[in-house]
C-alpha cells in the first residue's frame, strides 16, 4: 500500500480526511479487494509487533456458513428450524434483530456441519486447525481496584489492537464456540454484534481460514 493511501486511511479513521477525498477513498476501497487486504495488513501491524494474534473465529465461521449453505438439503431444514429460534422471552433489546438473523445462519451452518460430517465429529483425530479455535490460559486476574487510565483522544492509538494472549493453546471446536458466541450476541452491544454481522456480510472472495495462532506474547 502506498504511503499516500495509508495516510488517507489514517486521516479517515482520525476524522480528518476531507469529504471529497473520503468519497474517493471509499469508492476505491469498495472496488479494490487488494487494497482492502493491504489495509488489513496495515491494521495488523500493531498486532504483529506485539506478536499477539489470538484465535480468530470469524473467518472460520464464514467458511462454515458457506460450506453449510452449499450442501444444505431440504431434509435438514426442519431440524434447523427446531433449534434456531430462541424463546420469545429471550428477546433482547435494540440491536438484536441482527443477532437473531445471524444466529439463524450460524445454526444453519453448524447444524449442517454436524449433519454432513458426523465422522468428523466422532473422530479421535485432533480437531484440524481450520476448524478449531485457540484456547490459551487466562492471564492473572487483574486487581479490580486498579483505576484505568483515562482515554485521551489526543493520544495516538492503533486502529485495532487486540488484547494480549499468551502461552500454549488448547483446541476447541469452532462450531461449539460459535454456538456460545451467537447465543450471547442477542444481548445489547453497540459494536460487538456488528463484528459477527460483518462476517456474514463479507463476500466469498476470501474463504481462507486463518491459521490458529500459537504466538506468544513478548
Amino acid at each position: 500500500m502506498s504511503d499516500p493511501i495509508r495516510e488517507q486511511i489514517s486521516a479517515f479513521l482520525d476524522g480528518e480526511l476531507p469529504d471529497t477525498e473520503t468519497e474517493l477513498l471509499l469508492k476505491r476501497l469498495t472496488r479494490d479487494a487488494e487494497l482492502r487486504e493491504s489495509f488489513g495488513r496495515y491494521a495488523l501491524i500493531g498486532e504483529a509487533c506485539r506478536g499477539t494474534r489470538g484465535s480468530v473465529l470469524t473467518r472460520d465461521l464464514y467458511v462454515r456458513i458457506n460450506r453449510a449453505i452449499d450442501g444444505e438439503s431440504p431434509a435438514v431444514i426442519p431440524q434447523i428450524a427446531a433449534v434456531s429460534r430462541p424463546a420469545s422471552w429471550w428477546r433482547p433489546m435494540a440491536g438484536a434483530a441482527v443477532a437473531a438473523g445471524v444466529a439463524v445462519v450460524a445454526v444453519v451452518a453448524l447444524r449442517q456441519h454436524v449433519a454432513v460430517a458426523p465422522t468428523l465429529a466422532a473422530s479421535q483425530n485432533p480437531v484440524p486447525a481450520a476448524s478449531a479455535v485457540t484456547f490459551v490460559p487466562a492471564p492473572a486476574l487483574a486487581n479490580a481496584n486498579v483505576a484505568a487510565p483515562s482515554l485521551n483522544p489526543n493520544e495516538p492509538v492503533s486502529y485495532t489492537t487486540p488484547a494480549t494472549l499468551a502461552e500454549a493453546p488448547l483446541a476447541m471446536p469452532a462450531a461449539r464456540l460459535t454456538n456460545y458466541v451467537f447465543a450471547h450476541s442477542k444481548y445489547p452491544s453497540l459494536l460487538g454484534q456488528r463484528d459477527v454481522l460483518t462476517d456474514l456480510m463479507v463476500g466469498s472472495e476470501d474463504q481462507t481460514v486463518p491459521p490458529v495462532a500459537t504466538d506468544k506474547s513478548p
Partner: protein
C-alpha cells in the same frame, strides 16, 4: 411468563420503544443538553427512530469492511437494509418483524420472523444510575467528523473488568458518526466510521428493496419455536466483578447438543456476559471414539473484541462469553457453583 424466567429489568426495554417515548418529549436547550448521558440516549433514539442512509467502514481484527445502511421509519413501520459493498452482494433486510438475509453468492435466501425492533446498527443499553459507579461518562471537546461538528463522548471503565467506548455524535442529529470500542488503556479494539451519512425526511421504497435477483435461489424459512423450561435451581455465579448482577435466566438449545443449556446473563448496566451451563455428557461417539465437539474444555479464547472462558464445574461445562476483558469472563466462570444462592459482588 415462563416459570423460572427472570424478566429483564426496565433499562432493557427495547430501545425503539424508549426512543419513541423520548422522542415525544421536547428537549429545550438547557444545561442538560451537555449531559453526556443525555447525548447517549439521543443517539439510541436517533438510531431507532430516524431515517438514515449511509456508508460505513467496520474496522476490526485487522480487517476493514464497507457496508451501506438504509433505515426508514414510516407510519410506525421500521424497515432497514444492510448491504455489503465489498463484493459478495449480501443483503440483510428487516421489515418490522421479518428479517430476510439475501446470500446471492450462495443462491440462498434465509427468512426469519423476529420480534425485535432494534436497529441493525445496535444501541447502547439505557444507562441505569449504577453505571456511574463503574464508568466515567464525560464529554470531550467537540471535533469535526464528515465535515460536521461532532459531540465526543467518552465512556471510560473505572476498573479493568470492562471495556469502554468513544463516540463521535453528530451535534445536529445525534447519529454516531464514529464509534470505538476501547480497552482500559484506551487502545481501540474495534470501530465503525461513517464515510457518508444522510438523514433524509423520506426514503423511497426503492432504496429498501433488495438489489438481489432471487430467481432460482433457494428460500429457507425459519419459524419460531417454543420456550424451553428453565432450570431455576441450577448453577449460579457465587461471586461477581463489581457492578455485575444477574439480569436474565433462561435455557437454550445450542447446536449439536442433546440437552438445553442454562443461559445466565450478567450485566453491569453496559457490559454483558453470558454464562452457559451444560450438563455433562458422554463425550464418546457411537464408535466409542471421543466426540471433539462435546468433549470437556478448559481455557480462554478471544473472539472478535470479546473473550470466552470455559471450565468444568462438578461435571458441568461452564462457559462465560462477553465483550469484556479476559479476566472478567474468567472470574465469572470460575465462580459458578451448583447453588441457587444469590451472588455476592466483589468490592
Amino acid at each position: 411468563m415462563i416459570p423460572g424466567v427472570v424478566r429483564r429489568s426496565a433499562w432493557l426495554l427495547p430501545g425503539a420503544v424508549v426512543g419513541a417515548l423520548l422522542f415525544a418529549i421536547p428537549h429545550p436547550a438547557t444545561a442538560a443538553d451537555d449531559d453526556p448521558r443525555a447525548w447517549l440516549q439521543r443517539m439510541n433514539q436517533a438510531l431507532a427512530t430516524r431515517n438514515y442512509d449511509g456508508m460505513f467502514m467496520h474496522v476490526s481484527d485487522g480487517r476493514i469492511e464497507t457496508m451501506r445502511i438504509v433505515h426508514r421509519v414510516q407510519a410506525g413501520r421500521v424497515t432497514e437494509r444492510l448491504t455489503s459493498m465489498d463484493g459478495s452482494g449480501r443483503e440483510f433486510i428487516r421489515s418490522n418483524d421479518e428479517l430476510t438475509c439475501y446470500l446471492p453468492d450462495k443462491k440462498t435466501v434465509l427468512v426469519e420472523q423476529t420480534q425485535e425492533r432494534g436497529p441493525f446498527l445496535g444501541t447502547l443499553p439505557q444507562f441505569g444510575a449504577g453505571v456511574n459507579e463503574f464508568y466515567q461518562i464525560e464529554s470531550l471537546p467537540n471535533t469535526r467528523v464528515l465535515g460536521r461538528s461532532a459531540r465526543v463522548i467518552s465512556v471510560t471503565p473505572k476498573d479493568q473488568f470492562r471495556f469502554g467506548y468513544r463516540l463521535w455524535l453528530d451535534e445536529k442529529t445525534a447519529m454516531p458518526l464514529k464509534t470505538q470500542l476501547c480497552d482500559a488503556r484506551g487502545n481501540v479494539l474495534e470501530q465503525i466510521v461513517f464515510a457518508r451519512l444522510e438523514t433524509p425526511d423520506t426514503i423511497p421504497d426503492a432504496e429498501l428493496a433488495p438489489s438481489v435477483h432471487t430467481e432460482g435461489m433457494r428460500w429457507v424459512r425459519l419459524s419460531p419455536r417454543e420456550a424451553l423450561p428453565v432450570d431455576s435451581a441450577g448453577f449460579r455465579a457465587s461471586e461477581l466483578p463489581p457492578g455485575f448482577r444477574l439480569t436474565v435466566t433462561g435455557a437454550q438449545m445450542l447446536g449439536g447438543a442433546s440437552l438445553p443449556a442454562t443461559h445466565l446473563v450478567y450485566s453491569d448496566g453496559l457490559a454483558t456476559v453470558s454464562v452457559f451451563v451444560e450438563a455433562g455428557t458422554d463425550a464418546k461417539g457411537p464408535d466409542d471414539k471421543v466426540d471433539a465437539a462435546q468433549a470437556p474444555m478448559q481455557g480462554l479464547a478471544r473472539v472478535g473484541s470479546g473473550f470466552v472462558f470455559s471450565t468444568v464445574v462438578q461435571g458441568h461445562q461452564v462457559t462465560a462469553v462477553g465483550e469484556v476483558p479476559a479476566q472478567t469472563v474468567e472470574f465469572i466462570a470460575h465462580s459458578v457453583k451448583p447453588s441457587a444462592g444469590s451472588e455476592s459482588t466483589r468490592r
